[in-house]
Amino acid sequence: MFQIRVHGRGGQGVVTAAELLSIAAFDEGRHAQAFPSFGSERTGAPVVAYCRIDDKEIRLREPIMQPDALIIQDPTLLHQVDVFAGLVAEGYILINTTRTFAALGVGEFVKSFHAERLCTVPASELAMKHIGRPLPNAALLGGFAAVSGRIAIESVELAIRQKFPEKVAAGNCAAARAAYDHVKREIAESVHA
């Protein structure tokens, strides 16, 4: 089982991100379960959503306390919420930011994780460019596909087209693909560096 925890703020499509990821996994023939951290969500309040992916039926209903991957939609949460809680040693971290882990003040903390599993992507900027609104969720899923290899970018695009009307889907697919390419480039550069 692979477990992903998405952190963001109300209005950023955090719950939708987890749902899209579960649809993408389903489209690949896998079992997936997505659910929000239920609460009276308000715009701007910290929100968490979860997605589990497995090859067999998922029965577990507890929140994800030891995630294999973290998708952080808003870097201002880093010093407000314990977003890294329980992340496994082999875990992935993807942050929506134009800055580096060091510039975000978490450089020391992430040292113990595999460098190639740590990634940043300017998802809000890509969303502004392709969707016209700073909704980073689809772009981050593209980035997640690239850094983790756990889901194909084509499946992410298919899930977006299944969930959204055509016009909305087109922009989100473009943002996801751009983020995917961005992260792939980032990985290639770090290998050569």
């Binding site: 579960s22 389903f26 997505a34 659910f35 009276s40 029965r59 577990l60 507890e62 929140p63």
Partner: protein, 421 residues
């Protein structure tokens, strides 16, 4: 057809396939997405011959459902929590009149204190109202149970409540196999009412019944539920024949045949319990699970048969009978008869507190070691509780309890954070 969708939408689609003729809708979390999705289907024309009625309260929702059902329509509504309480008088009436309404209860806690999260207090508050109560373990079963519910309700002329865990199921995206219209039509015949308000053949429904006949009418309501005990396994069997999967029935068992310890639970927590039991079985512990799929009528003999060989029974329940303890465990006790096994009631998950494998390992381990109290509260913070009790000893005007607990939790977590730095 397999699809990845939200539990609420899956239920809405299944209800639509049952060809309801009247849907009464009043929004309350966490059931709102169900009636919203049904409203969309009526508006788009996907669901035909169906009146979608926005009512002004839950009391009106059930009252309109009663009227619709009495007029011979297949009637459906959904509610949760305070909404169920607000319609309670009409809920009893629907059962007392023998009207086969189907209602989803997206289980949620009852205030005060205000809480929108999941537990079973709402459904349990209506357990003796005369409705049949079915509990879904996952979204597949939730949608399947609605199809079976209409069949059962209409055969017996008794209303059926399908209980699914609010948020945990209603808001979860997971894989479901959505039946075809043809399958549902094969399984669910058109509604043939036992009683109907028909101007051509006028009758009255809702007589005043005095002491000379009230007992008999109530007894017949009980007899109907006893008939349901006989019918439900057969309907589940027939369901498997048409849809190709196991859903519903009175009970589900898991690794229980030879188990010394049997965990009894209902609803979505069964999944987490099964995963925990698998891990304990790997360590050689003899433990199994009994899931209660039908809580009303209480499947007395089916539960008795499963628990007959158990040394101890742990009932994990998401509701509390204040002043008594466990509700489900009190029901389980009636099934134990001559079995003198240890019975433990574990109150868990109230107001949406997560029930984790780690906590289940601990509490099942304590039961097996004989160290568990017969009534316990999973993951209860005794420090906080003791503080409040101590303050009440010291001060007459100790203030509102919920506010005090919130303040104490903030203070204690602050202290704990300080300890760590």
């Amino acid at each position: 057809m397999l699809k990845q969708t939200e539990g609420s939408r899956a239920v809405a689609e299944a209800v639509a396939l049952c060809r309801p003729e009247v849907i009464c809708a009043y929004p309350i979390s966490p059931q709102t997405h169900i009636v919203e999705a049904l409203g969309e289907q009526v508006k788009s024309g996907a669901l035909v011959n169906c009146e979608f009625i926005n009512v002004e309260s839950e009391f009106a929702a059930m009252s309109v459902a009663i009227g619709a059902s009495a007029a011979g329509a297949r009637a459906y509504t959904a509610t949760a929590s305070q909404g169920l309480l607000f319609m309670a008088e009409a809920v009893f009436n629907a059962a007392g009149l023998g009207l086969p309404i189907v209602m989803t209860v997206a289980n949620r806690a009852i205030g005060a204190p205000i809480n929108i999260w999941n537990d079973h207090t709402d459904a349990m508050s209506q357990r003796d109202c005369g409705w049949i109560q079915l509990f879904a373990e996952n979204n597949q079963e939730a949608l399947d149970l609605h199809i079976q519910a209409f069949r059962l309700a209409e055969e017996l002329s008794v209303p059926v409540m399908v209980c699914m865990d609010g948020f945990i199921l209603t808001h979860a995206y997971e894989r479901v196999d959505m039946p075809t219209q043809e399958q549902v039509d094969t399984y669910l015949p058109p509604y043939a009412p036992r009683q109907i308000l028909d101007p051509a053949e006028p009758v009255s429904i809702g007589a005043m019944v005095g002491p000379e006949a009230f007992m008999e009418v109530r007894y017949l309501a009980h007899a109907k539920q006893m008939q349901a005990i006989e019918l439900i396994p057969g309907y589940a069997e027939e369901f498997r024949g048409v849809f190709g999967r196991d859903s519903g029935g009175l009970i589900h068992t898991y690794r229980a045949d030879d188990a010394e310890t049997i965990v009894v639970a209902l609803g979505s927590v069964l999944g987490t319990v099964k995963d925990t039991v698998d891990e304990m079985r790997e360590r050689g512990i003899s433990i199994g699970v009994l899931g209660i799929a039908c809580f009303r009528p209480w499947p007395l003999l089916a539960v008795r048969a499963v628990l007959a060989g158990a040394k101890r029974v742990v009932v994990l329940e998401k509701s509390l009978a204040v002043g008594l303890g466990g509700i489900v465990s009190a029901n389980v006790e009636t099934s134990l008869a001559a079995n003198t096994c240890e019975l433990y009631a574990v109150i868990a998950g109230l107001g949406g507190r997560p029930i984790t494998r780690a906590s289940l390992h601990r509490v099942f381990g304590e039961a097996i070691a004989g160290k568990l109290a017969h009534l316990s509260f999973l993951d209860l913070d005794h420090t906080i509780v003791d503080r409040v009790l101590a303050r009440e000893q010291q001060t007459r005007r100790s203030g509102p309890i919920a506010e005090a607990v919130l303040r104490d939790i903030a203070a204690v977590s602050g202290l704990r954070a300080k300890d760590q730095t």
